[in-house]
Symmetry: C2
Subunit: 371 residues, 2 copies
């Protein structure tokens, strides 16, 4: 298999991926700007900014005409908001137990997912549905499998108050933050006004999540004109993917995420879980078992598959999708080619510095995991 | 209060703190070593290495003669072993549920602890004892509150197989790792031989944990001769701490961690938890309620306090310790001074890049959280 050659792309100014941004912020904090260190810092900045684009220079800049598109690097307009969001994303004190954070189920070590069929929530609750990846999630037409949240900010408030997830309330979460002087200061600096409310909390989390994108997949280098980015087998897999009709739903930069589709078009899906899909939002019977088409970006990392996590491997997922959505039975060889292609959609993962969270104060309400 | 001035200490060669090491490793991975990037990398290395010492240049290099000593920066002899350990430390697949990692209870965002009275384990089990911080833990005379593990390597195997913690077995953990080609390769590279066993796993985790030290506290700058590092109140607090007899047990570089002592010397401790302490290891009745003296390093971050986590604040902990260990009742003012001093023991926290874990393969056994 052809592996991309690592190389140094041109310095990319302010379009830095999240991981590099975090490095940079930390680095800057540690450096007093005297003359000597300024020199070092400037060099370090350049290295980090350059690294952020990841990987490989396309051999040609002409974008191929395909039903899909490359993932763009994150554009960070408000780094302080993103930095606050990073802290909140990792802070388990936003849960009743003090044990569960956003990262517990959307783990940035594991493709932004938990790799479980359904998530574990407060008091070891079994979640009703597979946790979708947070990576590239800002590009979805809406959030959750049934699209009940219009954007990441609206989504972020959900798990905090869900009794089967973080089991807290928005008021208790905000009270917790208000009791910690360092958070009070940081919210003031970021929002330019005194006070914390759940909208500010979810806005910051969403701003951080918007940086969690994965440009630089081998497939994207091929899309941008690099013929050597894919092997013959991978390219055949992509042609099969297209010619079978997969791109009818899995298209655009996300390879999905932009429509609701029925699970079981040709053949009913024998779901073991009772999730009813989009009809829970619209109330329309026609929307039963309609789900948001999941992104295939980084699909190698986001197993198990489908809204119920019943497909453990890509081989199984491709088999089921071909059969129930397209009425096709792939040969073992064709299945393998499609799987090989799908693995080229793994992009450069954001590398995130674990935040150092401000300690609770004496007046911070303590978590109550066992009540 | 006097805050330390940030400044650039001299370049420190290979004695880098863990956070900077991680930065550096990642940075190096992203950089192709052509001539231009070599220049940048060298500069970035210097910045990171310099940053790693944290904070402030002592005004004098003469170490004060005190019953305590500064924390030294981590010495990293085998960065590849540390890097493997970092992955394992954050990998929840070492647990039965696929949800709990070392970092779940020894959270490096929160002073290396979980800030809970007792930890949450598999199936929401309530742990029997407060989770001690992993920070500086390699300097303890032994591991666990009762010292039943002689070192970090021996400790690391405990939670993996404890039914109330990660609830796995050593064999299942090793089988999981063996099913992931990237882990198999990394173990081979690190250990120079084929194969994975639990000793290699715990050796790598321990090597990572050994880097989790916190030099650079304000108190240590004072110890090293900088008169301006502590305020008058903090210094009075330290003098009170010494003159009351606290240093009889809380001494050395850890301010503790080097002896077992009875909880309740002057007055019995009304423990709500049944932990019996050191006698569980020695079998000697005289060792009942003897516990390893916990470190006071970073104690501002590692609330709640004592083996049962019953003291929620430093004020409460100082009050109880004074009363039951020393027969002293501190005035409100003296208690405040001691607490102010204790907060100067917060060192520079290791800043760790969240690892990108290799994905499971089709043959990796899936977690079973709900069985």
């Amino acid at each position: 298999m052809i592996r991309p050659r690592a190389s140094m792309p041109g310095l990319s100014g302010m379009r830095v991926a999240a991981g590099a941004l975090m490095n940079l912020k930390k680095l800057k904090k540690h450096i007093t700007m005297n003359a000597t260190s300024r020199l070092f810092a400037a060099a370090a900045f350049s290295v980090l900014a350059a690294c952020s684009e990841g990987g490989q220079t396309p051999r040609s800049s002409s974008l191929r005409s395909e039903p899909v598109a490359p993932v763009a690097a994150a554009r960070v307009d408000d780094p302080e908001l993103v930095e606050l969001g990073r802290k909140l994303y990792f802070d388990p004190r936003l849960s009743k137990s003090g044990f569960i954070s956003c990262n517990s189920c959307h783990n940035l070590s594991m493709g932004g997912s938990d790799n479980l069929k359904s998530s574990i929530g407060h008091n070891w609750s079994k979640g009703p549905i597979n946790a979708p990846t947070v990576l590239n999630s800002s590009m979805n037409l809406a959030q959750f499998w049934d699209g009940r949240a219009k954007d990441l900010q609206e989504q972020a408030g959900g798990p905090i108050a869900n009794p089967g997830e973080m089991a807290f309330t928005h008021k208790l979460a905000v009270d917790m933050l208000l009791s910690i002087p360092a958070y009070v200061d940081e919210f003031r600096e970021v929002f330019g006004a005194e006070g914390i409310d759940i909208k500010k909390v979810t806005k910051a989390i969403a701003a951080f999540e918007e940086t969690l994108v994965t440009p630089g997949s081998r497939f994207d280098f091929w899309l941008k004109g690099d013929d050597r980015a894919l092997s013959a087998e991978e390219l055949e897999g992509y042609q099969l993917f297209k010619s079978s009709g997969c791109t009818a739903c899995h298209n655009g930069p996300l390879f999905g995420g932009n429509s609701y589709q029925k699970m079981g078009v040709i053949e009913p899906y024998s779901a073991k879980s009772p999730a009813e899909g989009r009809s829970a939002v619209t109330g329309r019977d026609a929307d039963r078992f309609n789900f948001k088409v999941p992104t295939l970006r980084n699909v190698e990392l986001t197993y198990p598959y489908f809204h119920d996590g019943e497909a453990e491997t890509l081989t199984e997922a491709v088999e089921v999708m071909g059969r129930i959505q397209l009425g096709r039975t792939y040969s073992e060889s064709d299945n393998r080619k499609i799987v090989a292609f799908l693995k080229t959609l793994t992009g450069k993962q954001p590398e995130i510095m674990l935040p150092l969270l401000p300690p609770s104060s004496d007046s911070t309400p303590r978590p109550t995991p066992f009540e």
